[in-house]
């Protein structure tokens, strides 16, 4: 299981300011919803795919493509039947299967799905969890909320370990008794496992709260900050680049196609 969505690297995208990357997700998302001809979106899609290949390595393209493959197939199958206006492109035994409008809508949907997937993928893989939280703090998310995200990220791997240990412990205990030989557990068999894990997790709550207060959370004095995102010329440069890219994403909306 991937416990970190962040993949370490030193490409320009990795070093690009995380705040700018997160903000760019908005125009990225929006641009695929504008009413533009599909051909306009093709270069955007290709650019995003190329970005992933260039910054994370071509191998990284496999996992998203494998995951979204079935969706793309479904889109191709299920969009044309709902868009039957326009001139028929393909008929089978007198039944219109695909029309021009249908083809256009399908292409649009495919490009939209591809673009959004790869765009988000590129950003999420190049922003470290700590930078994500620092960016959220910069966006004025309250400190408590940032702390929640960090503690959740720290707890996830240890819970996964607990889950595996609980599975092992239950397996040892119930070995040798009448049990189904199936490899997959029936849903009911999950109950003891889930109960053990939940009790273990829930017991940690007061204990972590104790640790937080022992390290001063709750004091009335103003809290200083150890780490912060850079605000120098590089950040400014990245901000300008981001502005330019945002305008590029948004531009198609203003051109009368």
């Amino acid at each position: 299981m991937i416990v970190d969505f962040y993949k370490t690297g030193s490409s320009f995208l990795h070093r690009f300011d995380p705040r700018a990357k997160l903000i760019l997700l908005v125009p990225l998302f929006a641009c695929f919803f504008f009413r533009v001809p599909p051909s306009v979106l093709v270069p955007y899609c290709c650019a995003l795919i190329a970005l992933v290949a260039a910054t994370l390595g071509p191998g990284e393209l496999l996992s998203p493509l494998k995951a979204i493959g079935p969706v793309l197939v479904l889109i191709c199958l299920l969009t044309p039947p709902f868009h039957r206006t326009g001139t028929p492109l393909w008929q089978v035994a007198g039944v219109v299967v695909v029309t021009t409008d249908g083809a256009r809508e399908t292409t649009l949907m495919v490009l939209r799905f591809l673009g959004i997937t790869f765009g988000f993928f590129a950003v999420v893989r190049t922003v470290s969890p700590e930078d994500l939280v620092l960016s959220l703090r910069w966006f004025r998310l309250p400190y408590g909320a940032c702390l929640v995200v960090l503690i959740a990220l720290r707890t996830i791997p240890s819970l996964v370990g607990t889950w595996h240990n609980v599975q092992d412990a239950h397996r040892l205990r119930s070995a040798g008794q009448e049990r189904t030989r199936k490899r997959r557990l029936s849903l009911g068999a999950y109950m003891p496992l889930l109960t053990s894990v939940l009790i273990e997790a829930v017991k940690q709550i007061p204990v972590q709260a104790m640790a937080l207060e022992s390290r001063g959370y709750g004091r009335r004095t103003h809290r200083t900050s150890f780490a912060d995102l850079p605000t120098g010329p590089r950040a400014l440069r990245d901000a300008f680049i981001a502005l330019g890219i945002a305008m590029l994403f948004v531009a198609p909306a203003f051109i009368p196609w």
């Binding site: 299981m1 991937i2 940690q204 709550i205 709260a209």
Partner: protein
């Protein structure tokens, strides 16, 4: 001095939301039965229903939204669902918690609460998915989401009962 009750201070609330979010994320990623557009059905709803019944609507809304969003981010390709999951499951947690709070231990009310949550999840993902992948493919996922929601309600209620029996201090942590 009399028996003191545990203090549900800000530190406690932060710890509880964080840990319950982590539980939601782990349950979402642990059992994955692949479906189509959404990626997988999982036990995340179990965690959200459990949290709503045990800790209340606010814990469930915040931990449910954050937990599922983190699970989406960790999945890689389905990262773009994160903001959507945040809202949909946040609402689910809130609604289940609020309805169940009306009659805290009544099993029928709990089931109603769970089903309402299920409707929000199926509906929310259907609408969101409709925009991103088209209404057709999005419709295909509704049965899977309902199945997942159903499992969530049943196991979530059972777990809330089981954990409260096996670890009684948890009953004082509702807020």
């Amino acid at each position: 001095m009399n028996d003191e009750r545990p203090a549900l201070s800000p530190a406690f609330r932060i710890a509880s939301i964080a840990i319950l979010a982590a539980v939601t994320t782990v349950l979402t990623r642990v059992v994955q039965i692949p479906t189509v557009a959404r990626g997988y059905i999982n036990l995340g709803d179990v965690a959200i229903v459990f949290t709503a019944l045990t800790f209340g609507p606010f814990s469930a809304a915040l931990s449910g939204g954050l937990g599922t969003a983190l699970a989406d981010l960790l999945s890689g390709p389905f990262a773009f669902w994160a903001p959507i999951s945040l809202v949909v499951h946040g609402l689910q947690g809130l609604v289940v918690g609020v309805i169940a709070a009306a009659r805290p231990t009544n099993i029928v009310v709990r089931i109603i609460a769970g089903v309402a949550g299920m409707a929000i999840v199926a509906g929310g993902y259907f609408v969101a998915g409709g925009f991103i992948t088209g209404w057709g493919p999005s419709l295909v996922d509704v049965p899977a989401n309902i199945l997942q929601g159903g499992v969530g309600v049943v196991l979530g209620i059972l777990l809330a009962i089981a954990v409260a029996r096996a670890y009684p201090p948890v009953r004082q942590w509702k807020w």
